[in-house]
């Protein structure tokens, strides 16, 4: 019984801030600091304001474009690369693998300036290229997929080769369907990464028509230091897609994290 009480108290600690966020977002501005934690006097005026005066619709669209294209291409590239490392043999294989893996041990922020230099050099500030392309090499996903594809029996591939299938046919008719659960996991984790990639997006966007949701939220929060209603409605919008994806695909998120952690 004691265990359940503790578990329950902790749940409140983990969930309450987000409940309170939604509550403040749905309240008139004057009631932001009301201590009443029951949903009363609800209104959508905060949401109307951020859509009307701060083009959050545009930010939302930008975030979706960045996250979808980022997740799609990084998963595709990692998948092709993982296939080669799992089932093919070629020069420098181990060397490349070790170099890829070693970048995982370096804090991301140390790559930020080098990447930023290249983006400035290429003139990619305020473009979708600059937002997405530098993060398309998903090393984490590559390692998961390599391990996963290694477990697919070689016999399947050999028998397809005997039947005259080409390498590309094998990849898309055999390897791809069999690694679909893992691909979905990588896609979701990568989507979440791009959706939350705040620092990078803050750095490469200076024009408000290229802002993503978190960057828009940052500009909103420096504009309205004390007006929490608008900030919280922005925050609510920004976590919404992740919440929805998480609730639908919970299993894949959780498996991905556990697999990734225990692989190391």
């Amino acid at each position: 019984m004691r265990r359940y009480i503790l578990l329950f108290l902790f749940s409140i600690l983990y969930i309450f801030p987000f409940y309170y966020m939604i509550l403040v977002a749905l309240r008139p501005e004057v009631l932001s600091f009301s201590m009443n934690i029951l949903p009363k006097n609800l209104t959508l005026e905060n949401f109307e304001r951020i859509f009307k005066y701060h083009s959050f619709g545009r930010y939302f669209l930008n975030s979706l474009i960045v996250s979808f294209s980022g997740a799609f291409f990084s998963t595709l590239f990692a998948f092709l690369c993982a296939y080669a490392f799992a089932k093919e043999d070629f020069p420098l294989k181990n060397f490349l693998y070790n170099i890829f893996v070693s970048t995982l041990l370096v804090p991301g922020i140390l790559f930020m300036i080098p990447q930023f230099l290249i983006v400035v050099y290429l003139g990619w500030l305020n473009t979708f290229w600059g937002l997405v392309v530098p993060h398309l090499a998903n090393v984490f996903g590559f390692i998961f997929l390599t391990e996963y594809i290694k477990k697919i029996p070689d016999d399947l591939i050999h028998s397809a080769l005997i039947d005259g299938a080409s390498k590309f046919l094998i990849i898309f008719k055999i390897i791809f369907p069999l690694s679909l659960p893992m691909l979905l996991t990588i896609f979701l984790l990568s989507f979440q990464f791009h959706w939350n990639n705040f620092l990078w997006q803050l750095l490469v966007t200076t024009k408000s028509n290229m802002f993503t949701i978190p960057v828009g939220l940052a500009s909103l929060s420096s504009m309205y230091q004390e007006y929490y209603g608008a900030k919280m409605s922005g925050a609510t919008l920004s976590i919404l897609p992740i919440v929805i994806l998480f609730l639908i695909f919970q299993r894949y998120f959780i498996q991905g994290i556990i697999r990734g952690g225990l692989k190391f």
Partner: protein
């Protein structure tokens, strides 16, 4: 030629990797020895200045402090992260527990959210003096002890951010610990219980030693997270509060991440590049000097 055929599959990944992770490192090393003469034409007007940028950095008290601040944050954050995650995992690790998946989902949920957004939400909770926590404190007649606000008080600000972020990210460690604990065979526990061990002894003598590698893993990734800290301070403190150390006025929570961002956003690219190399070398020193603790 046939030996090189599989490179077709690697090339997209490899190009991105080389262009945005590998080459930039050398490019930025080069730039960190240069000076920009003309900001309208950055890359044509680079002039070699030797170690100048590095010497300037090491003389700047704000830079030195930002490194120290990152370490203070790491030293507070990493142990908290490990302890909270272990605690949650231990609470959930009971085969008879009902609603286990429900609780696991709740504890894991904040980990998926953007640190920046969570920070913005927490500024509401910690808002001074009308925020939720202060209302509760004043209701309990405790508000006299906290006259400056958790995020404004120089003595509390690091602790507040560390605890918040340790709680936010604890779901990650919890999942890994839980997976590790569940792979320990039940018979070991039974034997211990028959010998009369209590639950604290069981945790100390059986569970903990068996999941030690995972503890190191979580601590190591926690440390990498603390080293990269940016969003948490950008959203919750903005670098403040101001403090006085050795006659220098410094922004207390202006961690390395904030300094790097400031350099880059002002297009002070040589300074940014040289500072990130200083951090990189520091990281390598820490990484290799703690290596023997990580090997099991």
């Amino acid at each position: 030629m046939k030996r090189f055929f599989p490179f077709i599959f690697i090339i997209p990944f490899l190009i991105i990797f080389i262009l945005f992770l590998f080459l930039p490192l050398f490019f930025s090393l080069y730039i960190s020895f240069c000076k920009i003469e003309n900001y309208y034409n950055i890359f044509e007007s680079l002039k070699f200045v030797g170690l100048n940028n590095f010497l300037k950095l090491l003389k700047d008290p704000e830079i030195i402090w930002s490194i120290i601040a990152s370490f203070i944050y790491g030293i507070l954050y990493v142990p908290l992260l490990v302890i909270i995650s272990l605690f949650l995992a231990n609470l959930l690790n009971n085969p008879l527990l009902k609603l286990k998946r429900f609780f696991r989902t709740i504890y894991f949920f904040p980990f998926l959210l953007d640190t920046f957004v969570v920070g913005i939400v927490l500024t509401l909770i910690f808002a001074f003096p009308y925020g939720f926590i202060y209302k509760i404190l004043s209701y309990l007649k405790l508000s006299n002890f906290f006259k400056r606000g958790f995020l404004q008080d120089p003595y509390l600000v690091f602790l507040t951010v560390s605890i918040s972020m340790a709680i936010k990210n604890s779901g990650f460690g919890m999942l890994l610990f839980l997976a590790g604990m569940q792979s320990i065979p039940e018979s070991i526990y039974e034997a211990a219980r028959i010998d009369g061990a209590n639950s604290i002894q069981i945790f100390k003598k059986i569970t903990f030693p068996l999941i030690k590698p995972i503890v190191y893993f979580v601590a190591f990734f926690g440390f990498i997270g603390a080293f990269s800290a940016f969003s948490e301070f950008y959203s919750m403190t903005g670098g403040g509060p101001q403090i006085n150390i050795l006659n220098y006025t410094l922004s207390e929570t202006s961690v390395s991440g904030l300094v790097l961002y400031r350099f880059a956003s002002q297009l002070k690219l040589p300074e940014a590049a040289s500072f990130s190399f200083v951090l990189f070398i520091l990281f390598l020193i820490i990484y290799f000097s703690t290596k023997k603790y990580r090997e099991v």
